[in-house]
Amino acid sequence: MTASDVLFIIFGVIAAACALYGVLTRYLLRSIVALGAFLTAVAGEFYLLAADFVAVVQIFVYVGGIVVLMLFALMLSTSGERQPLAGSDRRGLGSLLAYVLGGMVVWATVGTRLPVVPGRLPASVPYLGRALLGGQVFAFEVLGVILLAAVVAALALVRSERL
């Protein structure tokens, strides 16, 4: 049981527990904060899988951007005092579907013979840079256009009617 195995178990348990709490809690703010903790645990998992750049991008964009954006949206869309949300009446169907999907994925994974994981890999940034600006440069540029379109769309949606 190496140190990375122990860290994997810790991050995995934190991620699963925070995700479960985030979808089960009745308070909206706690759900968003649980999402933040979940994203940080997944960033730790990324780091353990030799994806150090992806882990840092995850923390910058997801935790530092999307979670803050959700908190602003929460602030602007509630009526002020902290109220618990109502539960749902579709819990039976939802949990059944979740069990079926999760069971299928786990069963397919356990039954597959995967190759042996290679040893320690070097830092990912040079290889990632070569891939992003080399073979995948078209998708990289299209991603820039997607982000521009999203910013314009968000601005167009929330500006006031009189402008």
Partner: protein, 99 residues
């Protein structure tokens, strides 16, 4: 490697449960983000297995994070517009198209 894939499958299932169960639009978005992160984890895990020097899975994960960021921005703008119009973010109350 199998424990990572099992973890990503379990996280995806938790996200599916959240999307189907929650009634507030922002909490549904939280569950969608959980699903997308589970898929990214799967991509990165497979990138480590097959041709790790090509970094295809990690490139896909970076693109996924970028697309998820733009989708969250547009989705939250939509939620705010709906809140201004109907006074509620409960998805069961916004039912004008219901027959």
């Amino acid at each position: 490697m199998t424990p990572v894939l099992i973890l990503s499958g379990i996280l995806f299932a938790i996200g599916v449960f959240g999307v189907l169960t929650r009634r507030n639009a922002i909490t549904m978005l939280v569950a969608v983000e959980i699903m997308m992160n589970a898929a990214n984890l799967n991509m990165v895990a497979f990138s480590r297995l097959y041709h790790p020097e090509l970094m295809t899975g990690q490139v896909l994960a970076v693109f996924g994070i970028g697309v998820a960021a733009s989708e969250a921005a547009v989705g939250l703008a939509l939620i705010l517009t709906i809140y201004r119009r109907y006074g509620s973010t409960d998805v069961d109350r916004v039912d004008l198209l219901k027959g």
